[in-house]
Amino acid sequence: MNVTLRVWRQAGPNAPGTMVEYKAAEISPEASFLEMMDVVNEELTLAGQEPIAFDHDCREGICGSCSMMIDGLAHGPNHGTATCQLHMRSFEDGATIFVEPWRVRAFPVVKDLCVDRSAFDRIIAAGGFITAATGGAQDANTTLVPKLSADLAMDSAACIGCGACAAACPNGSASLFTAAKVTHLAELPQGQPERYRRVVAMVAQHDAEGFGGCTLHGECQLACPKEISIDTIARMSRDYLMAAAMAREEKAGGGTG
């Protein structure tokens, strides 16, 4: 099949960018979207041009590297899939496909379709963990975790940190990412001691990174390759409210990140 691509090209973080048109000819419908991009890049290379930079690694939807806004939708038209799991058979022959990087202030463009997502790492560093230094843990079965809690925790823990939620959100909010981690840890008994401190610190970092607020548009949930539910955002909000209401939770503020 043949498609026309309109791809965002930007030489560096501070360089101006623009959409550039490319033709991808004789692509197998069985090829993945990234394999189609590989073919285009091979041709660009042989034609003496710079290939299109894009992040990718595992190519099976788990590492969270790939990140393309395809035809205005984060990770493209299919639900529950990352860009690398999208195949060309999802497009019509002859289609024109827009490909852009994630656009959020907190994710500055590094080059072409690559953005800097270190803001997510800093949100985790601010509180997205359970303090449990190596060694000295008690036998694993002394902590009982109801199956339902383990399953719910796992649902949220499945987040791959791709950033599609923030990319798709009309407000540029990374609430789904932040809430997924808050929910994962708040759902487990091990996460209780730091529960309220964690949510305040993570939300503070989320805001400090320049992400917007959630107004519950719900776009993030449909863009999320792991189909993480916006129920997690409600849980985050509840824990935040509880943190504010509980006098015990002293000066949680700021986080360390």
Partner: protein, 220 residues
Amino acid sequence: MTRAASLWSSTVGKKIVMAVTGLIMVGFVIAHMAGNLQLFEGADRINTYSAFLHGPANEVLWIVRVVLLISVIAHIVSAYQLTMLDRAARPVPYVKHELQAATIGSRTMRVGGVLLAFFIVLHILHFTTLTLQPAPLTEGDVYGNVLASFRIWWVTAIYVIAMIALGFHLYHGLWSSVRTLGFERGRLDPFKRPVAIALALVIWAGFTLVPVAVFFHLVS
């Protein structure tokens, strides 16, 4: 960080403030709507009710006014601040951005909110202070004032439009505020929010009924 500060200092905190103040206003609006519907029971009924509010229940009325004023200010200030944060969060727009989940309600919260703000000011100048008099209005005669006003097509039109804005605002706001306060109810799916939709419809219909009925001389 003190508790109050943490509620004001973050996007999540501000959203909680919006939800609480929004729900306070919802409470008022429902009561107000119930009050307005007494119009259909005749002039005496509603004028007595008004007289009661401004007479024996005057202190209560003032408390309500103060709470509402604080609410509306807090609601508007946080709405404004959040909007600015959200705008700043995406300085470079997409060339192509498709929305697939956002509803007309969620997308029109800001526009609708601004409309409502204008409406509320106009509305108080109109019926409470009687500063704006599209037709001659008399203090104490709520029934007469309403009838006189809504016989004028553009007054009715303004109210009807404002009530559409209110309906959409509540269609999203009723559903989202509950989640903001931490209640999760299944997945985001328009058919799972029937309660919010029904309530928004009732409020919209309850308000719209009065000007429309007056305009079409169903009340005289």
